[in-house]
């Protein structure tokens, strides 16, 4: 028998199907529904913004890889970062902004700290926060989606429902929740949403926000599309429920209890569902907070992290004066992640309650 040339390596000799590249590309696939909706709602301009952010992220990754004599484009992480940066842009931003955001994300947030796996902050979010605080006006000017454009009064055209309500409340409007405020000032809703609203009792604004008929960033407007992507990631076991569900519920519950206070409505007067489905929270909870590198490694740690994200988001949203609640909360919790990973460790097999009790008794004796 002729001898085959055999590979010798440590066990195990089998491997699960998922690898880094397949995970990264799958997350990009999970973002496809939201991306497609964004391009449909905001037109080719949105596509252009996405193109600039993705291409500059890839280019930056390629050049930095060149310096280290390695090519890391295949792993899909730079594409994903670029895509997320683009989805976090208002469709009307000048094109140098997504370029700068992507370069910041890849170069400063990721490579300066050692590249994939070594960054402490989510690159796409860092990029977004950097350009947001540098170019606040273009970053917070929005356009109405195609589905609402005809009905949108000019005065309201550039505000998201959330920022509109927030400005109104900050300006002294009290006694009304955000739906009532929007309604009072003539914020439009689609006919379809109105039909559903009449049939179910939800506010038409909330229905529109869920479907994606609102002004906002390219990728954040359609909660429905994001949830489809989220379910895909859960089904393919790319993420677990721990972070997104805890994050959304924390914001929902806190908003329900305390969210009415700034508007003078007292406790238990805030909105539960609408608070979860507005202002980029779903995009953040499903795709940003769940970033492996910058979230805790244990499920227990992930719960603490998501609670923190939810708490800060709630706080910034209702009691802060700036927008960006979601991005800043996640970045804040990114800072705490190494600490969580240091102190939250899994229970070791055999370390049962009975054993602990026994050891305590022995120590006493």
């Amino acid at each position: 028998m002729n001898k085959p040339s055999l590979t010798v390596s440590s066990s195990p000799h089998l491997h699960a199907k998922a690898d880094t590249a397949s995970i990264m590309w799958n997350v990009s696939i999970a973002l496809a529904p939201a991306t497609l909706w964004g391009v449909y709602a905001f037109g080719l301009r949105a596509l252009l913004v996405l193109g600039v952010s993705i291409i500059s992220a890839l280019l930056c990754e390629y050049l930095l890889g060149k310096l280290h004599n390695e090519s890391t484009l295949w792993d899909g992480s730079a594409f994903l970062t670029g895509l997320l940066v683009g989805l976090n842009m208002s469709p009307s931003v000048p094109l140098f902004i997504p370029f700068l955001a992507s370069v910041f994300a890849i170069f400063i947030a990721k490579w300066v700290f050692g590249g994939l796996g070594a960054n402490w902050a989510n690159p796409a979010l860092s990029g977004r926060v950097f350009v947001f605080f540098s170019f606040t006006t273009p970053m917070s000017s929005f356009v109405a989606p195609r589905t609402l454009a005809a009905a949108m009064p000019d005065a309201l055209a550039s505000a998201t429902p959330l920022s509109f309500a927030k400005t109104a409340i900050a300006g002294g409007a009290s006694g009304m929740n955000s739906s009532a405020l929007l309604s009072a000032s003539g914020y439009p809703a689609t006919g379809f949403a109105q039909t559903i609203a009449n049939a179910t009792g939800f506010s038409a604004y909330n229905v529109d926000a869920f479907l994606g008929n609102v002004a906002g960033c390219i990728g954040e407007v359609s909660v429905l599309a994001l949830l489809i992507g989220g379910i895909y990631m859960l089904a393919t076991k790319i993420i677990t429920w721990h972070i997104p569900v805890t994050y959304l519920l924390t914001v929902g519950v806190l908003s329900w209890i305390f969210g009415g206070i700034p508007a003078g409505l007292g406790i238990f007067a805030g909105s539960f569902f609408p608070s979860m489905f507005t202002g980029g929270l779903v995009l953040g909870a499903l795709f940003m907070a769940t970033d492996y590198v910058t979230s805790p490694i244990t499920h227990k740690g992930q719960l603490i992290y998501a609670l923190g994200c939810g708490f800060f988001t709630f706080l910034f949203r209702y009691f802060g004066s700036m927008p960006e609640a979601v991005s800043v909360s996640i970045l804040l919790m990114n800072i705490i992640t190494p600490t969580i990973d240091r102190y939250v460790i899994p229970r070791k097999f055999g370390d049962t309650k009975e054993l602990r009790k026994k050891q305590k008794q022995e120590a006493k004796a």
């Binding site: 028998m1 001898k3 085959p4 055999l6 590979t7 010798v8 390596s9 440590s10 066990s11 195990p12 000799h13 089998l14 491997h15 699960a16 998922a18 690898d19 880094t20 590249a21 397949s22 995970i23 890391t72 295949w74 792993d75 050692g114 590249g115 994939l116 796996g117 070594a118 677990t240 492996y292 590198v293 910058t294 979230s295 805790p296 490694i297 244990t298 499920h299 992930q302 990973d341 460790i345 899994p346 229970r347 070791k348 097999f349 055999g350 370390d351 049962t352 054993l355």
Partner: protein
């Protein structure tokens, strides 16, 4: 609906791939031209050679004597002549002395007389198990007489038979269950008598429904006090820690043995060997091995003399159907890959795999995804340990429970970054011990 028992923490679900050899009845290997009987076939000190070059040996004769407390005797699998004693490298990279035995053309018939074990005292039975060189047949090869000697201050409540065979591909235990189930269960009764256990449980994964049914029938027919328990499939359920959690819901604390929670675990193949040792007076010189994998032309379950070279097994199975990338002794999750088909099988060889080239993955940096942490059945943080070890912080790694790692491979199996986690743990343990 009743919950199917399994262990709770961690674990993974590799494809079981048992389809290649599960329907193949056990076949006897034609006598090979030459055997390589190693003197270190068990956990612990190697056996001392009792024979020299040129000596003749008889089938079943003791040719290596246990040296030390944890060690086991070695017996000649054939009648023949010792051609020489030389160094060999076993599949698990252990180097030791081995007899090269050329079998006679005529082999003696074995006596068919059956001894009665019920009238014998536990101490007598134990002495015979030691004399027959029985070791754990699941792969760990821990000497059986040591495992079954219960210290006076310990009490055994449950004797748990391991019929899990959670390693993918392997079907040797499954075939033993189907074809030698009666022997194996009687062996379990003998072992249980030695330990004084009041409960006897056999745990089998649900991918072997006919094995479960067959053993249940035997138990019913013979009236044995044995509980046959079907377990939900999950790797590494065949580890004694996970098996005890699944069957009797007890957790062995770090650094402790099954005895500390009142249990003894033995593989179903070991039970069969115990039966043969006590009732048939047959020393452990042959075993059932699954020769399987994508690249084997005709996968088989073979009963072969210990010391058979892998090349003889391969030839009996028609060689390779395609060029393998790896050959593995044992299962694919914990088995050892080796490079020389002249490597001999030992008492612990449960399988010989020829695996096809797998999809080539590219390794990246750790993503902190937490899959290894979720998969670890012991509750360790492999990613953290990996970082400590690769940074040379062996002491920190040891303090972070590195020694509790059993190298089951769950972490490396799921790692999307393809980090060599098990390899690193093994290295870390060695270097950490040295530093101490």
């Amino acid at each position: 609906m009743q919950r199917i028992p399994t262990f709770s923490k961690g674990g993974v679900h590799p494809d079981d791939n048992k389809v290649y050899s599960r329907e193949q009845a056990i076949e006897r290997l034609p006598m090979p031209g030459e055997l390589l009987v190693a003197l270190s076939q068990h956990l612990g000190a190697p056996a001392k050679a009792l024979k020299a070059k040129g000596d003749t040996v008889v089938k079943g004769e003791k040719i290596g004597e246990a040296s030390g407390f944890i060690s086991a005797d070695v017996h000649s699998p054939v009648s023949g002549t010792i051609k020489e004693i030389r160094k060999v490298t076993l599949a698990n990279s252990i180097k030791c002395d081995a007899y090269v035995i050329v079998p006679d053309s005529e082999q003696p018939e074995l006596p068919t007389e059956k001894a009665d074990w019920k009238s014998q005292e536990p101490a007598e039975l134990l002495a015979q198990i030691k004399d027959m060189g029985i070791v754990g047949m699941g792969g760990a090869t821990f000497p059986a007489h040591v495992k079954l000697s219960i210290p006076k201050d310990k009490k055994v409540e449950a004797f748990v038979v391991n019929g899990v065979e959670c390693e993918p591909y392997l079907t040797a235990d499954y075939r033993i269950m189907l074809e030698r189930g009666e022997q194996a269960l009687e062996g379990a009764m003998i072992a249980a008598k030695i330990t004084g256990a009041s409960r006897i449980i056999i745990g089998i994964e649900m991918n072997k429904p006919d094995g479960i049914a067959h053993l249940k029938d035997i138990v019913k027919e013979k009236g044995y006090p044995i509980e046959v328990v079907g377990l939900k499939m999950k790797y590494p359920q065949g580890d004694e820690k996970q098996l005890l959690k699944a069957t009797i819901n007890r957790e062995i604390p770090s650094g402790k043995l099954p005895l500390d929670v009142g249990a003894v675990v033995a593989n179903i193949g070991t039970c069969n060997a115990i039966y043969e040792a006590i009732v048939l007076k047959k020393s452990l010189y042959e075993r059932v091995i699954s020769v399987t994998g994508e690249c084997i032309a005709h996968p088989k379950n073979i009963i072969a003399p210990i010391g058979t070279k892998m090349s003889d097994l391969l030839e009996f199975c028609g060689g390779f159907s395609s060029e393998p990338e790896k050959m593995v002794s044992g299962g694919p999750m914990m088995g050892f890959s080796f490079y020389d088909t002249e490597t001999p099988m030992t008492k612990g060889s449960s399988g010989l795999l020829a695996l096809e080239p797998k999809k080539k993955y590219r390794s990246t940096a750790c993503l902190n995804c937490g899959r290894c942490v979720a998969a670890c059945p012991i509750g360790l943080m492999p990613a953290k340990l990996y970082r400590y070890i690769t940074n040379g912080e062996y002491e920190t790694a040891m303090q972070t429970s590195l020694m509790d790692c059993k190298e089951c491979g769950c972490c490396a199996f799921v790692c999307p970054a393809q980090l060599p986690l098990v390899h690193t743990m093994k290295t870390g343990k060695k270097l950490g011990r040295k530093k101490k």
